[in-house]
């Protein structure tokens, strides 16, 4: 018997999703440097990003990250297509809001928004810093690439601030359902434990949403 796609694909989504959740914790923690006063933030942020670029370990993690994102999207796409095929005709009237949350029913929509964000986000930073596309990145007095200034410049544009801040909302929603659902997909079924996980998912989603949402605004007003 071959692998059951109904379960294998979901397991892949859950595993990659949980890995991405861990990544977000690290990402947000580091980004909190941006909240510090300018004179502290510039050296700290730039030396941190140099560390990321130069560490071979981080390199491996980065590839894992790219793979996780791609696999997460790939399998989510397969699951969504299969699930649509399983329900070819929709109800004329459906009060689904009375039995389930909007986010849980629209993970695909939320995920697509996040994917669009990731593409733009990578274009803003990764493309410029790592690929050297666009205007060259200056160096700071310590000889590190001045990633801080790249960030600062971007967030002087109100449109980008609004975009980044607003995109934290679908992210939070996606994480809230994704985290607790991921645990169930991986076979965590203890009822009391599931209640705790649900609460942790909510707290986690709020922290990620608020954190990623506030940083661009704070930087804008610096």
């Amino acid at each position: 018997m071959t692998t059951n796609p109904l379960f294998f694909r979901k397991t892949a989504i859950a595993l990659t999703g949980l890995f991405l959740c861990l990544f977000l914790i690290v990402h947000l923690s580091a980004n909190c440097i941006l909240l510090l006063p300018k004179e502290l933030a510039i050296p700290a942020y730039n030396s941190y990003s140099t560390l990321l670029r130069e560490s071979p370990l981080i390199k491996i993690v980065a590839y894992l990250l790219y793979a996780a994102i791609l696999l997460h999207v790939f399998y989510a796409l397969l699951v969504t297509l299969r699930n649509r095929k399983a329900k070819p005709v929709r109800y004329a009237v459906n009060h689904a809001g009375e039995n389930s949350s909007w986010a849980s029913r629209n993970m695909g929509v939320l995920g697509t928004l996040i994917l669009i964000f990731i593409v733009i986000h990578l274009a803003n930073f990764w493309a410029r810093i790592k690929l050297g596309l666009g205007e060259a990145v200056p160096s700071d007095p310590n000889g590190n690439l001045d990633v801080y200034s790249v960030t600062y410049e971007l967030f002087q544009n109100a449109w980008f601030v609004a975009f980044y801040a607003l995109m934290a909302i679908p992210l939070a929603w996606h994480l809230h359902h994704g985290l607790k659902s991921g645990f169930k997909t991986l076979g965590f079924y203890h009822q009391g434990g599931l209640r705790i996980i649900a609460r942790i998912s909510l707290i986690y989603a709020w922290i990620m949403g608020l954190g990623f949402g506030i940083i661009p605004i704070v930087v804008f007003f610096k």
């Binding site: 018997m1 699930n83 095929k85 689904a96 039995n99 607790k180």
Partner: protein
């Protein structure tokens, strides 16, 4: 009491089908929803028209044969209730009630509101039993089963097989149904001998039948007349993983 039923009519699996409206009066609060449909059907007969085909049998919420999507909810507006337990007092005078059949690729429509749920039976065929023959049983108290285990098995075993879980699920996933049956048997000592093949075979059949993947929206446990918890699906996932690891 007067309401307008807007009912899906479809004369066979290949027919396109459409909604038709039927104003009905002379209803009372304490009529069940199905009795209101009976009432409508009697009017149709007197008018020389074909009756609306819909399913029911026990009309006391246990056989699982009734199942209609009513005003945007499986089995109507209440949680944990079958269609036959729904009464007209849940609606207001003058309401328009939209009545649709279960929608799922694996539940093809036979006629009007009647769908074919035999996919469930085929999942059952793949292992929802204990393979010992009549006459081979040991003394009933020879194997002690702690109350908590028996109670948990019973929680899952309560499934009536109505298909509301599939109907309400946006993915038409049969995970709650399949999980309930597997967990019922796998939780009991008698079911242990075949636990791994049972999980693999039944979930594989679920795949073959064209049901979708569970994405844990949680709609199924709200609509389930027996209130079977969605944690059963998580437990199923664990059991499937375990069966993979055990390799049997």
């Amino acid at each position: 009491m007067q309401v307008t039923f807007k009912i899906w009519r479809q004369n066979g699996p290949k027919d396109k089908g459409k909604f038709e409206s039927y104003p009905v009066d002379d209803l009372t609060d304490d009529m069940s929803f199905l009795e209101a449909l009976d009432h409508l059907n009697e009017r149709l007969v007197v008018a020389g028209k074909q009756v609306i085909a819909f399913e029911y049998d026990c009309r006391e919420g246990i056989c699982g044969q009734c199942g209609i999507f009513i005003n945007g909810r499986a089995h109507g507006p209440h949680d944990h209730m079958t269609t036959c337990q729904l009464h007209m007092r849940s609606f207001k005078d003058g309401d328009t009630i939209v009545v649709e059949p279960w929608r799922a690729a694996s539940f093809p429509i036979i006629k009007d509101l009647v769908v074919d749920r035999s996919a469930f039976d085929r999942i059952i065929e793949k292992g929802a039993y204990i393979s010992s023959q009549t006459g081979t049983a040991p003394e009933a108290n020879a194997i002690l089963i702690p109350k908590s285990v028996a109670d948990k098995a019973m929680d899952a075993a309560a499934c009536i097989g109505c298909g509301a879980c599939v109907a309400t699920c946006k993915n038409s996933s049969a995970a709650l149904f399949t999980a309930a049956k597997i967990n019922h048997l796998n939780r009991l000592p008698q079911g242990k001998a075949e636990q791994h093949t049972r999980v693999k075979e039944m979930t594989w059949q679920m795949n073959l039948e064209g049901f979708g993947s569970c994405t844990f929206t949680g709609a199924c446990e709200v609509e389930c007349p027996e209130g079977i918890s969605i944690s059963n699906i998580a437990e199923l996932n664990a059991r499937l993983l375990k069966s993979k690891i055990s390799g049997s």
